[in-house]
Amino acid sequence: MSCIEARSLSKSYDGLEAVSSIDLSVSAGKIFGFLGPNGAGKTTTIKLLTTLIAPTSGTIHILGMDAIRHPLEVRKKVGVVLQQPSYEPTLSVEKSIEKYAMMWNVDKKLQKDRVEELLSAFDLHDIRKKKNDDLSIGQRRRVQVAREFVHDMDLLFLDEPTVGLDPSARRSLLDYVKKKVREGLTIFFTTHILEEAEYLCDEIAIINKGKIIAVDTPTELKNKFGREKTIKIHIGETRKDLSVLLQGIHDYQIEYDSGTIITIRSHSSEDVLLKILQILTVNEIPIEDLSVVPTSLEEIFLTMVKNSNASSGSISK
């Protein structure tokens, strides 16, 4: 079953298209990653999907409901952690989660248990009596995210939820999200941190300049766009002629050459590596260290955005 179905979705502000005819389909029980550089249209898309703003054109179905015609019905089933901080400055951590549960009409008997569970899961026990106004940015963000799990929902939008969190809080949050997905929740997740997307997401869409430029699983994205690998060689003596020695090899590109460390990118990394080893052996060049690193999602992302910018630039010209 599809949790989110958006077709030809567009949003313009004063003639400028923030989101341009995008199609999205998110399956139930999955974590869908939505990546893009700043100003790509991620937050506008979330605002459209959460019914906060109306689209200029296109259709949105959330959990089988028409989100444009029945926004309130959609919102009753959906949780949203917006990118911007949101908090009640005068309330304590505990009270703000309790009040949020009350706002969502959570049964009073359930409220107490859930508040305790969230205080524990998000490591908020020690600061439960502290006022939101007195918290650090990271603590406030933890409360904001924790609060959203106090009510029942079928779909949760997380707009860069880990901003401001330290690595351990970040990992705890991601693991908690994974646990909730195993229990049946669907997550729409935006982030700038590609490692997070790789760790968490079943499927990823990349948006740039309001258009979706790729949608696939992280593995497939790597297979499609990341066959290139990086070979890093550290030799035992300084050789100024290293790049000259390697000239006979095909399908490679030197990224960095200091005379002792050379970094090479290649689509045929095994062949290239063998040839390099032969050349180094023939020339009696000692090897200190050698590694082959597969292309990360981050590199794929950067390449795709760069290519997309270049192609839209050439179109506009």
């Binding site: 906060l52 917006l82 949101s86 009640e88 400055p89 706002m103 009409n105």
Partner: protein
């Protein structure tokens, strides 16, 4: 629980903190007991309808209207605080409509206005009890003034909250508005006897109408002018409420 009731519950929880209550009680008490008695040496009596009130009684009754304005201006800025702290958008992505959010603010403002009026009436009662002439007609006047005044001043604060973006600008405007409303009115002194231009300026101020109707209710003085003032108060609160609602409905996210 109905969504509006849940939002009112939340609004009251965030508004009724110790600082707010101290502000609501201490501030008018200073005016009533310090200014009221200190000025008695200068102002022995104040003419009011067919009576002559002593100044502490006059100012204590004025403080009821003043406190309604004061508290509803403060609670009316719930919208401002919600926008500033991201709760406005957060509520609107929750199980609430904009209309419910607006309505919850009106109820909150009304409740706070009535509580404030009740509080100051209780505190000020010993000062004006000698001149009090409550009857079946006049008590509703106080309630009417409290409700329409709350909506009117709450709407003004809401309008300011939707129009301004910077904290500095908001503080300047809300303080200026407060100063004008508080001191260019009949809350502290009667219009009669003031320079003509100033007396006229009093009647460009909704607090004057609110205070006059409250006093008419307390001292049993209903006449055609009070009736007209009630009409102005009712029309003003409706117009400003519609304006605030429209602005809030159109507020871009």
């Amino acid at each position: 629980m109905h969504p509006v009731v849940r939002l009112v519950n939340r609004n009251l929880t965030i508004s009724l903190n110790m600082g707010f209550l101290i502000w609501q009680v201490i501030f008018p008490l200073i005016y009533i007991f310090v200014a009221g008695f200190a000025y008695t040496a200068l102002i022995h009596e104040v003419p009011f309808a067919n009576k002559r009130l002593d100044y502490p009684a006059f100012i204590a009754s004025g403080m009821i209207g003043f406190n309604i304005m004061n508290s509803t201006l403060v609670s009316g800025i719930i919208i401002w605080n919600d926008r500033r702290h991201g709760m406005f958008e957060q509520i609107l992505v929750g199980p609430f409509t904009r209309a419910q959010y607006i309505l919850s603010n009106v109820y909150t403002i009304g409740i706070i206005g009535l509580i404030s009026a009740g509080l100051i009436t209780a505190v000020g009662y010993p000062l004006f009890f000698k001149s009090v002439e409550f009857n079946i007609l006049t008590i509703p006047l106080v309630v009417f003034a409290s409700i329409t005044g709350s909506i009117l001043f709450g709407s003004i604060a809401s309008i300011i909250s939707t129009r301004l973006k910077s904290s500095e600008g908001f503080n300047v405007v809300i303080n200026t508005v407060f100063l004008f409303f508080a001191f260019v009115s009949t809350a502290f002194y009667p219009a009669e006897g003031a320079p003509k231009a100033l007396a006229m300026a009093f009647y460009f101020n909704p607090l004057t109408y609110l205070v006059d109707v409250v006093r008419a209710g307390i001292f049993g003085n209903f006449n055609s002018l009070v009736g007209l003032e009630m009409l102005v108060l009712a029309c003003g609160s409706v117009i400003l409420f519609v304006m605030a609602t429209k602005l809030l409905s159109k507020l871009e996210l």
